[in-house]
C-alpha cells in the first residue's frame, strides 16, 4: 500500500505545484513508483511543470464518470517510467468532484504506487477538502512571509480537525541575505509559530523559475545547486533518513555576518 501525501499551503503561489513536481520526480529517480494527482480542478498546472501538457487525453473527471479506465487517464512521464500523473479537468470547477470520489481515486492508486502525491489548490474551500480527503500525511509549503505563515497555520488547524496527523513543513523561497539583515522571517521564526516538524528548507532560486518555464523539474538538471540539493534532501527525509538541514548561509557568509549571528544567538 502506497503512502498518500497532500501538498498544501493555504496561500497561493508559494510553491506547492513546484514541490509536488520535483518531489515526485526525485522519488521516481531513486526508484520509487509515484502517482501525482492534480487536485487543482479548473486551474491545473502540474502537467505544465512536468512538461506533460500535450500528453493529457483524459482527466480524473472522465475516470469518475466511467468514460475511461483509471490507467487510461494516467499520463506516463517521458523521462521517468515510474512516474505518472492523473490530470485534473481544466474546464470544470472544483465542485464537480466530491471528497469521496477523490478518496476512491487515491486509494485505487495506492494499490500500484509507492507514493501518491496530491497537489492541493490554494484556499480552504471545496478544492482543499477534496485534496485532503484521502491523505494520511501532509506537507505544508510556506514562504517566510507573515501572510503565508498565517494561512499555513490555519491549514494545519484544519488538517488536525480532519485527522490528518502526520503534518510536516517545507519553508520555500528563503533568502539568507534578507534573513541576516532581519528583513525576512528566519526558519526558527516560522517554526516557532507553526510548531510542526520541519521537512526541509528551499532557497529562493531563479533556477526554479527557469525549470518551471521549461517544463523540466529542477531535480533533473545536471547542474548542482543548493535548491536541487534541498529538494533531494527532502526526499531522503520522506524516506525516513536523517539528513542535516542545509546551511543556506554558507555562500553568503562573511565574517561580519557570522559574528552577528554569534551574538544574536547569545
Amino acid at each position: 500500500m502506497g503512502r498518500i501525501i497532500v501538498i498544501t499551503s493555504g496561500k497561493g503561489g508559494v510553491g506547492k505545484t513546484t514541490c509536488t513536481a520535483n518531489l515526485g520526480t526525485a522519488l521516481a529517480k531513486i526508484g520509487r513508483s509515484v502517482a501525482l494527482m492534480d487536485a487543482d480542478f479548473g486551474l491545473r498546472n502540474l502537467d505544465l511543470l512536468l512538461g506533460l501538457e500535450n500528453r493529457v487525453v483524459y482527466t480524473a473527471l472522465e475516470v469518475l464518470a466511467g468514460q475511461c479506465r483509471l490507467e487510461q487517464a494516467l499520463v506516463r512521464d517521458k523521462r521517468q517510467r515510474d512516474l505518472v500523473l492523473l490530470p485534473a479537468a481544466q474546464n470544470r470547477n472544483k465542485d464537480s468532484v466530491t471528497p469521496d470520489q477523490m478518496k476512491q481515486l487515491a486509494y485505487a492508486l495506492t494499490k500500484k504506487y509507492d507514493y501518491v502525491l496530491i497537489d492541493c489548490p490554494a484556499g480552504i474551500e471545496m478544492g482543499f477538502q477534496n485534496a485532503i480527503a484521502a491523505a494520511d500525511e501532509a506537507i505544508i509549503v510556506t514562504t517566510p512571509e507573515i501572510s503565508a505563515v498565517r494561512d499555513a497555520d490555519r491549514v494545519i488547524g484544519l488538517l488536525e480537525a480532519n485527522r490528518v496527523k502526520n503534518v510536516r513543513l517545507i519553508i520555500n523561497r528563503i533568502r539568507p541575505a534578507m534573513v541576516q539583515a532581519n528583513d525576512m522571517m528566519s526558519v526558527s521564526d516560522v517554526q516557532e509559530i507553526l510548531s510542526v516538524p520541519l521537512l526541509g528548507i528551499i532557497p529562493d532560486d531563479e533556477k526554479v523559475i527557469v525549470s518551471t518555464n521549461r517544463g523540466e523539474p529542477l531535480v533533473l538538471s545536471e547542474e548542482a545547486s543548493l535548491s536541487k540539493l534541498a529538494l533531494q534532501n527532502i526526499v531522503q527525509r520522506l524516506e525516513g533518513k536523517e539528513v542535516e538541514l542545509l546551511d543556506l548561509n554558507a555562500p553568503y557568509d562573511t565574517l561580519l555576518a557570522r559574528l552577528r549571528r554569534f551574538f544574536k544567538s547569545k
Binding site: 498565517r150 497555520d153 490555519r154 488547524g157 488536525e160 480537525a161 485527522r163 509559530i193 510548531s195
Partner: protein, 363 residues
C-alpha cells in the same frame, strides 16, 4: 461553580410563575429577548443609552513603555494606574454591554452558547450533553464540525472512555450523514452517541433511522431539556451574578482561524497563535504564549482577567474594554495578568499581581 449549578438545579424544581414566558410570541431572530417583560426591555434600552454616552466621553490613551510598569512594584503600579496603561493602547468596545445590562445574562450557559453560534459540552450525572448552535445563528455544518473536532482533540483526557453522549440538537436540522459523522467523531474520542434531543421532525426521523433514541423537544421552548430557560432566567434575575459554565480545559495549540467561545472560563494548555480568538464569559488562562485575541468577561463582567505565561496578544478585551499590545514584544518574558481599571486594561507581572490582589481584595 458547584454552588451555581446546585442553585440552578434546585430552582428548576421550584414551581415558578411563568407569566413572562407564556403567551408572548416574539419575532424570530431575536431570541435573546424572549421572556423579558416590556418594562424590563425599556430599562435595558435606557441603560444602553447611558452607556453610549459614557462611551463617547472615553478617549483612548497611549502610554509610556510597558517595561516601566513591569518594573513597578505593586504599590507603584497602583499609584501610576491613573496615568499608565502599560504601553497598551486602550479603548472601549462598541456593542459590548456592561455587567447587569445584557439580556444575554438571563440565559443559561447552554443557551448563551447556542445563541452565540458555538458548540457546548456539559457533563452531568455521567452523561455528556453536547449542545449544537441554534439554527438561527446560521452557523454552517462545516464550522460546527471543525469546532467539534478541535474540542474533542483538546479535551481528550477529560472525559472517561465510553461516556454516553446526549446530543442536544435543538432546532438544528441534521441529516443521517451528519449524525453518522458526529457518531464517528465521538467514537474516535471514545465517546458513545446514545440519544438525540431535537425539536425538528426531520432530525428526529434521521436519528431514529440511524438507531439512536430520540427525545422530541418542544419547539417553542428553544432550549429545554436540562435547565429550563424559565428557571435559569429567574436564577439570573435573583442573583446578580452571571451563571457561568464550568471552566473549559483545552490541551491544544489554538491556530489561526481557530475560535473558542465558552460561557465560562477557559484554560488553554498550549499556545494561541495570531489569528486565533478565545471569547470567554469568565477568565482566560493561557499556559503558553498568548498571541491571538482574548476576550474575557464577554458578557460584560469587568472583574475578569486574562492570564498568560507569555503575553504577546494581538488584542486583549475584557468586558467592554479593548487593548492593543505594544508593537515591540518585550525582551524578557514572565507570566502576566491583564485586568481592568477605570482607565482601561492594564497588564501586570503575575507575581506582583498576586501580591496586590490578595492585599486589596481581602475576600
Amino acid at each position: 461553580m458547584q454552588s451555581n449549578r446546585a442553585s440552578e438545579a434546585s430552582l428548576s424544581e421550584t414551581n415558578l410563575p411563568e407569566t413572562s414566558l407564556t403567551g408572548i410570541s416574539l419575532p424570530e431572530g431575536e431570541p435573546s429577548e424572549v421572556g423579558l417583560s416590556e418594562a424590563e426591555l425599556v430599562q435595558v434600552e435606557l441603560a444602553q443609552v447611558e452607556l453610549a454616552q459614557v462611551e463617547l466621553a472615553e478617549i483612548s490613551i497611549s502610554e509610556p513603555e510597558r517595561s516601566h510598569l513591569k518594573q513597578a512594584t505593586p504599590q507603584q503600579a497602583t499609584s501610576q494606574s491613573s496615568a499608565a496603561l502599560l504601553g497598551i493602547q486602550s479603548g472601549r468596545l462598541p456593542g459590548v454591554q456592561q455587567a447587569g445590562l445584557s439580556p444575554a445574562l438571563l440565559a443559561s450557559p447552554a443557551e448563551r452558547a447556542a445563541q452565540g453560534g458555538h458548540i457546548f459540552f456539559k457533563a452531568e450525572k455521567g452523561v455528556l450533553y453536547l449542545y449544537l448552535p441554534s439554527n438561527q445563528t446560521a452557523v454552517e455544518w462545516s464550522v460546527i464540525w471543525e469546532q467539534l473536532q478541535h474540542r474533542l482533540e483538546a479535551s481528550q483526557r477529560i472525559w472517561p472512555p465510553q461516556t454516553p453522549v446526549y446530543l442536544v440538537a435543538n432546532d438544528r436540522l441534521l441529516d443521517q450523514r451528519q449524525l453518522d459523522q458526529l457518531a464517528v467523531a465521538l467514537s474516535n474520542a471514545h465517546l458513545i452517541l446514545r440519544r438525540v434531543l431535537t425539536s425538528r421532525r426531520q432530525t428526529a426521523i434521521a436519528a431514529v433511522t440511524s438507531g439512536y433514541s430520540v427525545d422530541q423537544q418542544l419547539p417553542t421552548l428553544g432550549l429545554p431539556a436540562i435547565a429550563s430557560p424559565a428557571a435559569s432566567r429567574v436564577a439570573a434575575l435573583t442573583s446578580p451574578e452571571l451563571v457561568l459554565a464550568e471552566p473549559l480545559y483545552l490541551e491544544t495549540t489554538l491556530r489561526s482561524g481557530g475560535e473558542v467561545r465558552h460561557p465560562g472560563s477557559v484554560v488553554v494548555v498550549g499556545d494561541t497563535n495570531p489569528g486565533s480568538a478565545i471569547i470567554a464569559d469568565g477568565d482566560i488562562l493561557v499556559w503558553g504564549r498568548l498571541r491571538g485575541v482574548a476576550h474575557a468577561g464577554a458578557q460584560g463582567d469587568r472583574d475578569r482577567q486574562i492570564m498568560a505565561l507569555q503575553m504577546e496578544p494581538t488584542q486583549l478585551r475584557i468586558a467592554d474594554q479593548v487593548a492593543r499590545a505594544p508593537a515591540k514584544p518585550p525582551n524578557q518574558v514572565y507570566p502576566e495578568v491583564a485586568y481592568t481599571t477605570p482607565e482601561g486594561i492594564q497588564i501586570m507581572r503575575a507575581a506582583d499581581f498576586a501580591k496586590q490582589y490578595s492585599k486589596q481584595s481581602g475576600k
